[in-house]
């Protein structure tokens, strides 16, 4: 049997704020296999972001185990974690987290600067360009984040997550700040990536968005309360076509 990409056993994360102890994640056990496309849903404050940050090795769990590709993350030091984030993981934030006053191209190149073995200048350029093309921004490499729309900024962030060819893309409410149409476009992009073999885990609190995923995990109060396969999956390509038709009709009428 294949080792799961993500293997969580009784994962716990507790925040210590002054006197108060906040149990954000309280015992999550979950396996995610290669090639899956998982939506994590739940009300605000249910611990989704906390879980994602832990999965992305941006934060350390307080208890339980997390194995990434069979490796226990708890035993790794800062350097090894940095390497994991650089090579294996691509993280997409709700608030984009792009470097301001820096071109889209340079933002996408950023992870390659920190890659071992070193990436040559030409390869860096080329891979960033490819990633930008993949998200449909091939012609916007020179634009700064302030010159791009929210959806375009999120695409740049996705290109940055993809540039080092990760096995796993983690996205925390990637469509949270976007309008419906842009959201569908982003989901279409994720579906394409998933078809190309990349494992995707994303957080959303919108059922509409979760409907594009293959599997839906629901959290409440730091625990998983349901974990189901998505029976009637939506395809972004079709939706967009329908949307275009509707717009066409509206314009004619």
């Amino acid at each position: 049997m294949n080792t799961p990409v993500i293997e969580l056993r009784e994962l716990v994360k507790t925040y210590q704020t002054g006197e108060v102890e906040v149990k954000a994640v309280r015992g999550v056990t979950l396996n995610i296999q290669r090639g899956e496309f998982v939506a994590i849903m739940g009300a605000s404050g249910s611990g989704k972001s906390t879980l994602m940050n832990t999965l992305g090795c941006l934060d350390q769990p307080s208890g339980g185990t997390y194995r990434l590709d069979g490796v226990a993350v708890a035993g790794l030091d800062r350097r090894e974690l940095a390497k994991l984030r650089n090579k294996k993981l691509g993280f997409v934030f709700q608030s984009f987290n792009l470097l301001s006053r820096t071109s889209a191209q340079d933002n996408v190149e950023l992870p390659l600067f920190y890659t071992q073995p070193l990436v040559t200048l030409r390869e860096r350029r080329q891979r960033a360009m490819e990633a930008l093309e993949k998200v449909g921004l091939g012609s916007r490499g020179g634009h700064h984040p302030s010159q791009l729309s929210g959806g375009q900024q999120q695409r740049v962030a996705i290109a940055r997550a993809l540039v080092n060819r990760p096995e796993l893309v983690l996205a925390d409410e990637p469509t949270g700040n976007l309008d419906t149409r842009t959201s569908i476009e982003i989901m279409g992009l994720f579906q394409e990536l998933n078809e190309a073999g990349i494992t995707i885990v994303m957080v959303t609190h919108e059922l509409d968005v979760a409907a594009y995923c293959k599997r839906i995990v629901v959290m409440r109060d730091g625990q998983v309360i349901s974990d189901t396969l998505n029976g009637n999956r939506r395809t972004a390509r079709q939706e967009l076509a329908t949307l275009n038709d509707a717009e066409q009709t509206a314009r004619l009428g």
Binding site: R79, K83, F93, F113, Y114, P117, L118
Partner: protein
């Protein structure tokens, strides 16, 4: 081993690229930081250079007076509350001068001095200048050379001959580019033959132009121009600096005796001791240089505080940047190296511009105030060192703190 060095080298190169991009991205912050360094370094370099230059000029002016010069001035005349200045009183006579030459040991040269102002007419031009009567020793005492012709002699003095040696400025006013030697000049309608042209000496201690004068034998001046039997002063050269104190004492008691001054009466003359003045002026100008240095040090400090402020204020923005970099896989060492390179680049660049503008400012002050600024290597090293240390420390400190954060904490930093 070789590949390890290669990796470190290339990696530093990449980090340098990141650092330079970051500097370019934050032009305002970068230039403000550099400005703090520039101001600090420039002011230290400029002020020390100006101080040193001023000191050097004062020293050279004092030594331009001549070697081991002792000058006795007649006291100042008070009449009805009006002070007519040194040399105006009638107290020193030629007999006094002769007695000084006879009795004060260690005098190697002497020149009695008469001074007046008169119109000089020559070459169809008219120029008001100072006419000074001296002995042939005067040029030796003042360490002054002739540009052309010769000085008058003992015989000229004895015979009160109507010969003159002319200052370069006066010569220029009267004759322009013509050679004045051999020409005639009329002073108070008396014709003099010009036999020598003085080298230019520039502004004197009092700021007056020493080149605007005509020197004639003191005997001629007394007999034909002023008709006076009193001297303005007597210039004396003493054999060595160490004998000046003793000579001054001898001089004082001799003159008091000759003028029949009883104990309790003030001197009716004043003695100007070049060495004493030089010592005082030198110590004062050293203090001034030190003071300028201190002021500059304060501006270096203020510049440093400016750097510190900008660096600390930018922590918020940069912590998020650091968070992003760590989130995509930067090692803490990468972050520290990047900020080190940024800080060093800014400090070195700022320091360099600071040194250049400091030297420039010093030269400018030198041109305006007419002296040579003396840039000291010590001040450059000190200013450069201090500003670089401040820049590097406060550049690295926030980075060091932020690099130690959890990536998620760094990203959330507000």
């Amino acid at each position: 081993m070789f590949t390890l060095i290669q990796i470190i080298f290339v990696r530093s190169g990449q980090t340098a690229l990141i650092a330079l991009r970051a500097l370019r991205r934050n032009k305002l912050r970068s230039s403000l930081t550099a400005l703090g360094i520039i101001i600090g370094v420039a002011s230290v370099v400029a002020m020390v250079a100006v101080g040193n230059g001023a000191q050097a000029r004062i020293t050279s002016q004092i030594s331009a007076l001549g070697q081991n010069l002792l000058t006795v001035f007649a006291g100042s005349k008070h009449s009805g509350g009006v002070n007519s200045g040194l040399g105006s009183a009638s107290s020193i006579t030629l007999a006094d001068a002769a007695a000084i030459a006879r009795e004060v040991t260690d005098v190697v040269a002497m020149s009695p001095e008469i001074s007046t102002t008169a119109q000089a007419i020559a070459n169809g031009r008219n120029w008001s200048t100072s006419i000074v009567g001296e002995s042939p020793d005067y040029l030796k005492i003042r360490d002054w050379k002739l540009a052309a012709g010769s000085m008058f002699t003992e015989r000229d003095t004895r015979g009160a001959v109507k010969v003159a040696v002319i200052g370069s400025k006066t010569a220029n006013e009267l004759f322009g580019p013509l050679n004045p030697v051999g020409q005639s000049v009329r002073i108070k309608n008396i014709p003099f033959v010009i036999i020598g042209l003085l080298e230019s000496k520039g502004a004197g201690m009092g700021g007056q132009n020493q080149d605007d004068r005509i020197i004639i034998p003191y005997t001629t001046a007394m007999k034909r121009l002023t008709g006076d039997k009193y001297l303005r002063s007597v210039n004396l050269q003493i054999i060595s600096a160490s004998r000046m104190e003793a000579a001054q004492q001898q001089l004082t008691s001799l003159l008091r005796q000759r003028h029949r001054l009883t104990t309790g009466q003030d001197d009716d003359f004043n003695i100007f001791n070049q060495k004493e003045i030089a010592d005082t002026v030198n110590s004062v100008s050293r203090i001034i240089t030190l003071l300028l240095g201190a002021v500059a040090g304060i501006s270096l400090l203020v510049g440093g505080i400016g750097i510190m402020n900008i660096m600390l204020v930018s922590v918020t923005e940069r912590t998020r940047e650091i968070g992003i970099r760590i989130a995509v896989g930067a090692q803490p060492g990468d972050i520290r190296l990047q900020f080190l390179i940024e800080a060093v680049t800014l400090s070195l660049l700022g320091g360099l511009i600071g040194v250049l503008s400091g030297v420039g400012a010093a030269q400018l002050v030198g041109v305006v105030a007419d002296f040579h600024a003396v840039v000291s290597t010590g001040s450059i090293i000190l200013a450069f060192g201090v500003s670089t240390a401040i820049g590097v420390f406060f550049g690295l400190y926030p980075a060091h703190k932020a690099a130690a954060l959890n990536p998620i904490e760094a990203l959330r930093y507000e």
